[in-house]
Symmetry: C2
Subunit: 326 residues, 2 copies
């Protein structure tokens, strides 16, 4: 792999791989605009340990064993990891598919430590993309208060603004799994772009897209097509057909620039950390939206409410075109 | 006034009159489908006492001094009345217009007592329409646990399902002013129809509608045109022009049947009574809405999300056509 870090944007990925995490990872590897400089795992779809194994297996399939993977937090800031969602992502997080074991090991650092180190190495340039619960980011902020000032921006897949949640009537899974961490991340002094269900559920991957991956030349693309099988089954209750939402890939595409947010107002965002019925909700202050007066100059939290085009076709194209240089 | 109670549906109105309350009241009086058998006032837009005065003045203007008005709760279930919203409804709640004093007195009962008495008198038939905070309804439920079983149904203007609130990012004023009461009302064993901002803000009264009222033959209609002046000013920040939302009249029209709900799924509704950022939110479980699987058989709480036609023209027609029989 020839990387050209002088022109590529450095990206740290925090993930709970996970099927749509796997698609996002492949998309990031296939995107010449960015350089994936490190990955942290966190418990969410699966445990942080399993997420790291899955990530390393996928990196090996992609011919990118050089990307450092750090195991992150097993438990959320408050409480304990709930065991994940095997009925959605499969028992192993990758749709019960046995990926070829990479033989790779995670780095010795924690995910928070890796993120902090990379924030020094790429000071002012590093983009953070978090597509799992935000435990590692919160931990890193607590270890190093200067972190926020060294990061160019944070894009997080999570929350629901004006659409129902997917765990409770108002809470989305990544935030629900660690509301206290999410509150710390949206409350820190850095630019945060929230990519909520409002837009991720509008981006659907269809059976034809999956078949295109299955017919691909590269083992990575074929593996993605296979692991999507279980995920597609789950989404029948959501969309009425085998398919899936592109939560994590959309967030990745917004960081890469393959997709552009056309409506992403800067508004106050508060995470409900009570034990009440609103726990885990991302409360985005969209009052005044009829008049456009909800966009607040200087506010550092944005919520993406619309994008320029559907993601699926672009996602398939990139993944099919990707050839490991190794 | 000749009333034909054998064919008219008996309605108890609970209100905090209030400019849009005044429109709703006039609409109810002008609607032959229903018989307005009693009115309770509650603190909200103005104090319960002022709301009763305004209601009696409007009833006198309408030639309906026979409708009993009871003063209801001054303070919400928890906490104290906050003084109302003079910047929206005027200092006196009716747009700073000096209505001709009715000389009428409220009845000696409290609003809760009046509601309970009417629920016996019209057992199984009484419709309750609450367009202010729900303090009186909660009080009545606590006084008489059998109330819910004697009422045909409860329609409440309040809450926000998938649209921003109007007091906080998630809370609408009627619920915000007494979340504990709202929780009791939606949790009681009766049929509740929630008419939230999602639909009320879609129904706008324009300057041309107001002018039609100002040019009317009846003093009631002209007074309504006058009191709307202040209210129209407030709504410039919402709609970008002098106009207003028809919160309370829409709720009244749904009870009368002048407007029909075309989308009103039966879903769990929970009111956030925490002291957190979600306080006062009406959490409607609309997960599954893409598939229509959110509508739950047997659930007694419905939320109105769409209606068959705009209200304004119908509202003006009814009010202009109304002639007091006295």
């Amino acid at each position: 792999m020839t990387s050209t870090p002088t022109t590529r944007i450095p990206v740290y990925l925090d993930c709970d791989t996970g099927i749509d995490d796997a698609l996002a990872l492949a998309y990031l590897l296939a995107s010449p605009e960015i350089d994936l400089v490190g990955i942290g795992s966190v418990s969410g779809n699966v445990s942080a340990a399993q997420g790291a194994v899955n990530t390393l297996d996928l990196l090996a399939l992609a011919g990118r064993p050089d990307v450092p993977v750090a195991v992150g937090a097993h438990h959320p800031v408050a409480g304990e990891f709930d065991g994940g969602v095997p009925h959605i992502h499969g028992r192993n997080g990758v749709g019960n598919v046995d990926l070829p074991p990479s033989g790779l090991e995670p780095v010795a650092e924690s995910a928070a430590e890796l993120l902090i180190r990379l924030s020094h190495q790429h000071e002012g340039e590093l983009r953070v993309l978090a597509i799992g619960p935000f435990t590692n980011l919160a931990e890193a902020l607590r270890i190093d208060a200067g972190l926020a000032g060294r990061v160019h921006g944070v894009t997080v897949m999570g929350g629901a603004a004006l659409t129902p949640g997917n765990v409770t009537p108002v809470a989305e899974a990544n935030v629900w799994n660690d509301p206290e961490a999410a509150a710390e991340v949206v409350g820190a002094d850095w630019d945060v772009t929230l990519v909520p269900l409002d837009v991720t559920e509008e981006n659907v991957f269809e059976e034809s897209d999956r078949e295109a991956l299955l017919a691909a030349e590269t083992p990575l693309a074929r593996a993605l097509g296979e692991i999507l099988d279980v995920y597609f089954d789950f989404y029948v209750v959501v969309y009425g057909r085998r398919s899936c939402a592109l939560h994590d890939p959309l967030s990745a595409a917004l960081v890469v620039g393959g997709i552009t947010a056309t409506k992403a107002p800067a508004v106050p965002i508060v995470v409900d950390t009570t034990q009440g019925p609103g726990r885990g909700q991302t409360i985005c202050d969209l009052r005044g939206q009829r008049m456009g007066t909800h966009d607040r100059v200087g506010r550092r939290t944005r919520v993406v409410l619309d994008t320029d085009r559907p993601l699926a076709e672009h996602l398939v194209e990139r993944i099919l075109a990707y050839r490991p240089a190794v």
